[in-house]
Amino acid sequence: MNPELVGRVFPPTAPYLVGREKVREFARAVFADAPQHSDPEAARALGYDDVVAPPTFAMVVQDLTLQQLLGEPGSGIELSRLVHAEQRFRYSRPIVAGDELVATLTVTGIRSLGGNAMITSDAEIMDATGAHVVTAISVLLAGEAGA
C-alpha cells in the first residue's frame, strides 16, 4: 500500500443518475419493505418527489470512488483480500430517485497493521445543485497480495 495516498483527493466521479427501478431493486435486496422505497405515492405522501432510497444505498455511489482507489496503480489491493471493517454515513437528506449524484473521495489515513493496511476514506456525495447529500466514511483492511 502506497502511504503517499494519504491526503489524496480523487477527481469527482461521473454523475450517477438514481433510477426508480434501481432503488426498488436495491430495496428488495436489503429487505427494505417500507412503502416509500418502492411506491412513488407513498414517497410523495412524505414530501419526496419519487421513491426514497434505503439509507445504505449511498454505498452504490461510494463504491464508484472505491473503484478509483482500487484502480490506482500500485495500490496493491486485491479485492478478495479486502475486508470492510467499519462504515458510517452522515446524511443531509435521503437519496431520492431522480437525483444526479457526484462523489469525491479523500483518503484520510493509511496504517500498516501486521501485513495488512488499514485505509480510511471519506466520500462526499453531492447532488446536481452542488448541495451535500451524504458523506460515506469507510475503514477497509487490505491484505497485501501473497501475504
Binding site: 428488495r28 435486496a29 436489503v30 429487505f31 419493505d33 475486508v83 458510517r88 446524511y91 435521503p94
Partner: protein
C-alpha cells in the same frame, strides 16, 4: 415513535439469508467480491465459508427501523463496525435477528442502538442510528 424512552425496544425482526439473497445483493449493489458467492475463493483466502456482504447486514439492520420511523429521512447518521462474519451455508442459509433499542435521547435527536445476531453471536459492533425526533 412520538415518545422515545431510553431502553425501549422500538423494532425487531428476523431475516433468513440464502445464497440467492447474496447474489441478489451483489447485483443490486455492484459489489462482486467473489467471497460472497464462491466457496473456493472464500476457502483460498482462509474464510470459514461464503460470507454475507457486511453492507447487506448493515442494510437489513437499519431497515428494521423504517416502519417505526415512518420517514427514513429522519436518519441523520448511521455507523457500524463489522465485527463477526455471517457465514451463509449453501443449504441452511443463515438467520439474522435485529433488535432496535433507544440508547439515548437529547434535545433534537435520539440514538437507536441496533443489535444484530447470527447463531447467538453479535455480528455488528457499535451499530448506532441517530434520528431526528420530528
Amino acid at each position: 415513535m412520538s415518545a422515545l424512552v431510553v431502553g425501549e425496544v422500538v423494532a425487531e425482526r428476523s431475516v433468513h439469508l440464502t445464497r440467492e439473497a447474496l447474489v441478489r445483493y451483489a447485483g443490486a449493489s455492484g459489489d462482486f467480491n467473489p467471497i460472497h458467492y464462491r466457496d473456493d475463493v472464500a476457502a483460498a483466502v482462509g474464510l470459514p465459508g461464503v460470507l454475507a456482504h457486511g453492507m447487506l447486514t448493515m442494510g437489513i439492520a437499519v431497515g428494521t427501523l423504517a416502519e417505526a420511523l415512518g420517514d427514513t429521512g429522519r436518519i441523520v447518521e448511521y455507523g457500524v463496525r463489522f465485527t463477526r462474519p455471517v457465514v451463509v451455508d449453501p443449504e441452511a442459509g443463515a438467520d439474522l435477528h435485529v433488535s432496535a433499542k433507544v440508547g439515548a435521547v437529547d434535545g433534537e435527536t435520539a440514538r437507536v442502538d441496533l443489535t444484530v445476531t447470527h447463531a447467538e453471536t453479535t455480528v455488528l459492533g457499535k451499530a448506532q442510528v441517530r434520528v431526528r425526533l420530528s
